[in-house]
Symmetry: C2
Subunit: 390 residues, 2 copies
């Protein structure tokens, strides 16, 4: 039904701005910072960008309404620029749009750029809670994910310790990353003894609120080969899927994982020709909005059986020097989670891991990697597989 | 640079709900109404939709945040559903996303659905004027378009009469359309004597505020041929382009038309192999948010020289029985303009015109048609060309 993506779309540029509390910078500044790095990386000029996809979730300060916001920030006039939005998968959906356009032969070189400012918003820009499909019912993100985490812990007989292992690992990785929001190591004890946000999540089980932007430039294979100065990696597959906007309230919901992630990853694996993801993926960036989310992601992505994912964290399998390093960047936990930027920030990390450019946090011998977002209360998911070879 | 779209994507289903003041229906009801008609038209089942693109500009009532809103309304689970937004070109951008996915071989059958409720919104859902890139500066849509209309009228020496001809034509067409918001004919005198909204625009120079939804189903050529019960038309080209979010404030802006429309249409014509649009297009739906906008569209789309488009309206060239009928549906003027729906409502009209299904408002012998949106204050534009033959 769905043609393979192998050999059809190359990533030639990746850029990420410094994530954090960027009150001195506006949306356009953050977008430009990421764009400039991606352009330099791709060794192209802005005029060579044929089309762009903007990923941003919550427009504010007159920025983020329509693709024209991005066109103005980057002076990308006279070409298509459109905005896409899909909860916390917004950034990776921008890449899906750009990659399809290239695969369809509708442009030679396309930009996907995601940006969000969450630290510094006008009062009127705050989520309109009364209208939000989930928040309107009195549920916050920590609360909703905590419901599932509690059920998981009860069902599979674990306490908060495995969650703390995820926090410690991702803080250790973030401490090696100059662009991460949080650059400090923590201990298991600190994680376990931190103030509770929503039981079982303490402060260190939750990703921070962050400003940031990330950009990925994709192109046709011929272009990637012509640009001898660039160092391309290749898209092997992109899967996207969704359930209800309120999956946790469906009668059949088991509260121990996310169907959208399972569905999106199966599509991506099929396109990439991957049968055993736990062995065929060398490095992954997964959506750790909460520490428990990373654990269920291991299972929903097929790295472990349902109910046993927590062992990968406890046993160090997903540590930087483990068999399957996950979130070498520090993850949402340390890098931060500016919604529209996160998916592209992950794809940028995997791109640079496959090129061996990640310095202190480089995963040795990484040849194929995965990036994963889950959005809303598990409502949508997007998975991208990248490889060194076409 | 950009491959042709000819022969690659078929439109097999088009559906439009009754437009108007639909206070009895919510977003989901409107979406379902359009979807059901498109499904019946395509002679397929919902399970056959592989992926969907939602076009909606201003989420409200907890609806329109992420593709999951549409997934819930139509029960389209376990597949990709993403939201796109690009000012008033939002609906046609949803079609661009779906068409690229099909052309890229990433799905067999894809849905583009646009919906907006503008008559009936919670106070908190109103545009946040203080943050809007244009409205924040004290400019409303009528005011901004009136600036350009005044300059045009001064430059080319016309009074309000040609604008009134557009209003009379589009009201006459809308009077033949049971789904239009406004179904009444008006006279030139009524148009000229109506209360002024923003000089030179009177009440009948402005499109109404409307609720509505429209859906278009596209597929691969093989599928279109297998579905002997469907009656496909074909996408010949899609162009999208943009300028600044504030084109009217750029030093070089001439105030007599929209560059984004010119750029988008040139791309679409190139893909479709059209050299003389005024003669090669048989029927068009163009973005008549204001009567003057339709006049400049004639010129920016290449149907007439700059400064002479108004003659097409005065001379009846664009009337239903003219040489190049424009807005046979009644246009935004009579059909209404629910932002995310409009582009797809136009594509549905052109689809049915090419199939000869438009009854009292059928354009005789229409074999190739065009649909056009312009969004924001001329900031973005999208143009789709459809034909009877692949």
């Amino acid at each position: 039904m769905s043609d393979s993506m192998r050999g059809r779309v190359a990533v030639i540029g990746a850029g990420v701005c410094k994530f954090g509390e960027r009150v001195e910078a506006d949306y356009s500044d953050l977008a430009l910072e990421a764009f400039d790095e991606a352009l330099t990386d791709a060794t192209i000029e802005p005029e060579q960008i044929d089309a762009a996809w903007l990923g941003t979730y919550t427009p504010a300060y007159g920025w983020g309404v329509s693709g024209a916001s991005l066109a103005d920030a980057l002076r990308l006039y006279g070409r298509p620029v459109v905005r896409v939005e899909n909860y916390c998968a917004t950034g990776m959906e921008a890449l899906r749009g750009a990659a399809y356009a290239v695969a369809a032969g509708q442009c030679d070189i396309a930009l996907a750029l995601g940006v969000e400012k969450l630290k510094d918003r006008p009062a009127r820009g705050l989520p309109r809670v009364g209208q939000h499909p989930v928040l309107a019912y009195g549920n916050s993100a920590p609360g909703l994910f905590a419901l599932a985490a509690n059920r998981y812990m009860h069902t599979f007989g674990i306490d908060r310790t495995p969650l703390a292992h995820v926090a410690v690992k991702n803080h250790a990785n973030g401490a090696r990353n100059a662009k991460a929001h949080m650059q400090r190591e923590i201990t298991i004890e600190q994680a376990l003894n931190a103030p509770i946000i929503a039981e079982p999540f303490g402060l260190f089980d939750c990703c921070p609120v962050t400003d940031g932007a990330a950009a990925v430039i994709v192109c046709r294979p011929e272009i990637a080969r012509e640009l001898s100065s660039a160092e391309p990696v290749w898209i092997h597959g992109i899967g996207s899927s969704g359930t209800s906007a309120r999956p946790q309230w469906e009668p059949g919901y088991d509260y121990v994982g996310f169907r959208a992630t399972r569905q999106a990853s199966l599509r991506a694996y099929e396109q990439a020709g991957i049968n055993d993801p736990g062995n065929e993926i060398d490095v992954a960036e997964v959506h750790d909005c909460f520490t428990w989310t990373e654990i269920t992601n291991y299972e929903d992505l097929g790295f472990a059986e349902k109910g046993s994912g927590w062992k990968l964290a406890v046993d160090g399998v997903t540590a930087l020097d483990g068999d399957l390093p996950v979130n070498p960047s520090g993850g949402l936990k340390s890098f931060g989670h500016p919604i529209g930027a996160s998916g592209l920030r992950m794809v940028a990390e995997i791109t640079n891991q496959l090129r061996g450019r990640c310095g202190d946090r480089q995963v040795a011998g990484a040849r194929r990697g995965l990036a994963h977002n889950v959005g809303g209360p598990g409502a949508v998911s997007c998975v991208t597989i990248l490889g060194q070879e076409p």
